[in-house]
Symmetry: C2
Subunit: 599 residues, 2 copies
């Protein structure tokens, strides 16, 4: 089982800083934008001229959940009073039956639970997650009973009376929320309701958008028969989260093997090198195996987050180092890129290549449906990603450790402290910038360390004595007793990474990884035409360090001359120095070109 | 001046075959499809439940024009009677004022000349071109006076009374048609009307589609100030045709320098290696310099045809070999690819790369706006390209020769005979398959031969005696007298062609040209993943000949192994033999993958 964020205390370092920025800047910044855009007014359930977005409630709920996680380490009276007021408003406006939805109960009361595609249970799910988080963190205990009442009403209507206009929600989320409600309250009925929703999915034709297919919301097949990741990526991964949870809790081998097949399909065929998923703009969806366009990537931030949530649940249901390797790839690249360095701006879409001229052209010419956004913004109409990032960063401590048959697993190298398996573990990590990790352990037990895929070698000492780590299934284990000082050095150097030859967009190209980071080049450092740059070798690459993290200066080549559009001689190449920065830090210095895959 | 198709007789060879297929198959096949789809019924101007497309008239007109060109060499009673009947119907239904439009006069009579974007004058222009062609070919003399009357009415309304809802048509065409009408009748008023339309364009805000900008139909600037090719490619090039004509006929240097700047912008920045133009799906338009995507290319067949029409007119206004090089590139590749080998199917869009799996996916998933078409069809709803191809191939003889200050220029090497500049010239060309050309001349004069850009050397004998050609401005000249036998060998071998390094889509890649042909690989010969194929060298390339023309077998490399999506070692490469065929012949053996640019 994973060791939850509440049992882990972050210490100085990269992620402490991210989380602190998250607490001190992002949380209230997102709140203010949401307040300005009427999200916190909507829950008063007063009729207004302009109805709220159908899933404003989920934005508020995710903000509450994030705020709950941050109160322990970053207590803040303003935040606390917003939480109290918000919870009071929700509870006060809840219908006597337990139902709460700021859109339906005010504007379409006659259509409650009649419209499958309108995110009603999706909003309910996020409210339930918020209630669980607030109670678990000891921040508020009043939303939980209210949301239990709502869950009971959902159970009554969907499972008992079955008088609703649909059986499974068009946007999965309620399923995983009900499992969390069960795990927190111990009330089996919520697990049964989650299982009911899973079992019903894909069993019959259910309503869907007229422009969509049933794969779009994963109702094309009964869940146990699903083997390929299809459709809207966030919907898919939220559904898979619940499948993994229910599979584990009910010992349902069919559900778990479906989950493992879905994970394998994603990491073998549908994952960007940044850990982004859902390459398709149309339907924000998984497309074909190896269809991973760079400039046109969708790779929504929420999808990267959902992949992490799925991997963590897979690990709970039977650990594999591959799950944490995927978490690491998504966390340090696609997900981290979702937020600006100042913690105020957010990306919804995370391209792997940017052409500012084309973006400007697209924005200037009418009729072009997709206007690529090359700078982060503070809020979107559909603003699911910002609060989702805030709540993920708030609980990043939960990604570090796991417990397998009494063995303590270290899966991410993030400076932190925890007590588990009868040991107190205190880790000081130089990651992501360097590979050296110090772990001091008090107590007796076994610790398994995950070997990052990017590591080119391991040096390890225990109480000063060299040990030769024996790596099995991506981990090496040490048995300790008393006071033990472990020093590990995962050798970290910039490396070329190549895509499978079937990836059309990357063929003939390579990317550069440095530790957990995928690097990119920006035109503000290197000028334009970055797609024309070739990197013959990484020998002579120089590491520089600065605000944006690790920089790399690499000897490279680019075409010298201009001239005819077509010619019978290749362009002459000129040596140049290419400056690379971590992908997550791109687009923080104005709009420009960006490139990950080089010749 | 160009020497018109009517003065040139094609002889055996590649283009004779194309034109013969055009006469024997395509002409009547297009007619039948157009008849089935109501295009020839529409001109009866009877009210029907389903109104005709607003520019059905132009389809009928282009068919008439093509039929006119073919009657001399391929007289056919069925075609002749269709021409007679069609002309009779048009004349019979013409309004007393001279107006004819099968949509407006039947369905929107109150809106005649009120709606700028609805192609009214575009249809008129094609009817005028048809009338001129029918009269010039001696096929029918009755449509001409009728269309003169229509032109007079247009002049009355737009130029004299000025009581119309717009001044310049949203789709240029009338301008070039009026110049043809002037050239054929000698009536200056038509040239003046053409000049009027050119002068008025871009002078003031005129109505445009709500989704479009003024650049879309080239009304963003007065025509003499235009230097960059922008907007809808066919509209642009039809406009530029009229600018070149009027510039030449009125000695308007400003118009001609605008035309030359526009040509240079196209060939330097916006031309596909196939000669296709208008890379943008949205608005079928010119986009940014070097924005030449391959799989997503629009490159409409009509735009390639329009480029040829523009180049021919530029040559009339002051010859440059570059114009004919562009004609050759477009003619043998983008344009020829517009028609299937059996002469029955047509492409509207001409991609330079095809992925059958992605196309099938796009067709199967709702919500994706563009469903790439990888097989030619017999008719489209908007079916401008098929009759445009038929009328171009019908007059291909007009692309071969020109006359500059008494010098006879040979610009395309197509087996043919003509009398010009006091000489009878009879050319037997092995092009496009081989570079040897035999020219027998009777009479005294100077002949200038254009040196194709792909030629790697020239061997030439005059009456058996070696001569060393002196190439100046892309031509070499020979002075002849009496009976002269000229033998030229343009050395032809497969060559790599490279794109300007700013062309993102082609960076790190090369294409293969063989004479005037751009070659491509298809999956039916080579299997899939063609984008992964690299061609280290063309040494050892073997030429094979067959139905699809020249084939080439080239030693190449492709990735051997499969495996992880991302890896730290590049894939091993395996030798293979790559079969290349001329691009124009692609997609004649079922739907599959196609590639032009290789690693």
């Amino acid at each position: 089982m994973r060791i939850g964020y509440e049992k882990v205390c972050l210490k100085d370092g990269f992620w402490k800083d991210v989380r602190e920025k998250n607490a001190r800047v992002s949380l209230m910044n997102v709140y203010r934008r949401f307040a300005e855009t009427g999200r916190f007014d909507a829950i008063r359930c007063e009729k207004r001229e302009k109805p709220p977005h159908i899933f404003y409630d989920s934005d508020v709920a995710k903000w509450l959940e994030a705020a709950a996680y941050l109160q322990r380490d970053y207590p803040d009276e303003e935040v606390a009073s917003i939480i109290r007021g918000t919870v009071r408003t929700i509870v006060a406006n809840q219908l006597p039956c337990g139902y709460f939805n700021s859109y339906y109960q005010v504007y379409r009361r006659d259509r409650i639970f009649m419209e499958r595609t309108e995110h009603e249970l999706y909003c309910a799910g996020h409210l339930i997650e918020a209630a669980v988080a607030l109670d678990a963190c000891g921040v508020d205990g009043t939303l939980l009973p209210a949301m239990e009442k709502y869950a009971d009403y959902i159970r009554e209507r969907f499972m008992i009376r079955r008088d609703t206009g649909f059986t499974t929600c068009g946007h999965p989320e309620i399923e995983l929320a009900l499992v969390r409600l069960y795990a927190h309250t111990g009330k089996k009925k919520y697990l049964e309701l989650a299982e009911f929703f899973l079992n019903e999915r894909g069993r019959r034709e259910e309503p869907i958008y007229d422009w969509a297919d049933h794969a779009y919301d994963q109702s094309h097949l009964p869940v146990r028969q699903q083997r390929e990741a299809v459709g809207h990526a966030v919907r898919a991964l939220y559904l898979y989260c619940a499948m993994a949870d229910v599979g584990r809790l009910t010992g349902d081998a069919e559900l778990l093997s479906a989950c493992r097949a879905l994970f394998d399909d994603i990491v073998k065929h549908k994952l960007y090198v940044t850990g982004g998923v859902g390459s398709g703009w149309f339907g924000e969806r998984f497309t074909l195996s190896y269809d991973l366009p760079n400039a046109e990537a969708y790779a929504e931030t929420c999808a990267g987050i959902a992949l992490i949530l799925f991997c963590e649940r897979l690990a709970d249901a039977g650990n594999r180092s591959a799950y944490h390797a995927a978490v690491e790839r998504a966390l340090y690249n696609n997900v981290l890129a979702g937020e600006s360095l100042d913690g105020k701006g957010f990306f919804y879409v995370n391209p792997l290549e940017a052409d500012a001229a084309c973006a400007a052209y697209a924005r200037s010419v009418p009729g072009i449906p997709f206007k690529p956004l090359l700078q982060r913004v503070e809020v979107f109409d559909c603003s699911c990603c910002p609060p989702n990032l805030v709540r993920l960063f708030a609980q990043v401590g939960g990604l570090i450790y796991g417990e397998e048959d009494g063995v303590l697993c270290v899966d991410q190298y993030i400076s932190s402290q925890t007590d588990a398996c009868g040991m107190r573990v205190c880790m000081t990590s130089q990651l992501p910038y360097e590979g050296s990790v110090g772990v001091s352990v008090s107590g007796e037990g076994t610790i398994a360390f995950r070997v990052p895929v990017w590591s080119t070698g391991i040096a390890c000492t225990v109480n000063g004595a060299q040990v030769v780590p024996e790596v099995r299934d991506g981990y090496f284990s040490l048995r300790v007793a008393g006071e033990t000082a472990i020093a590990i050095d995962f050798m970290m150097r910039p490396r070329f990474v190549y895509a499978h030859p079937a990836v059309r967009a990357d063929s003939g190209r390579k990317a550069v990884e440095y530790g957990p980071f995928v690097l990119c080049a920006e035109s503000c450092d290197n000028g334009g035409r970055l797609y024309d740059v070739s990197i013959p070798s990484l020998d002579g690459a120089k590491t520089v360090r600065n605000a944006e993290g690790v920089w790399l200066e690499v000897p490279a080549l680019r075409s010298a001359e201009d001239g005819a559009l077509y010619r019978y001689q290749p362009s002459a190449k000129e040596p140049c120095t290419l400056t690379l920065i971590p992908y997550y830090a791109w687009a923080n210095r104005g709009e420009g070109d960006m490139q990950i895959w080089f010749l």
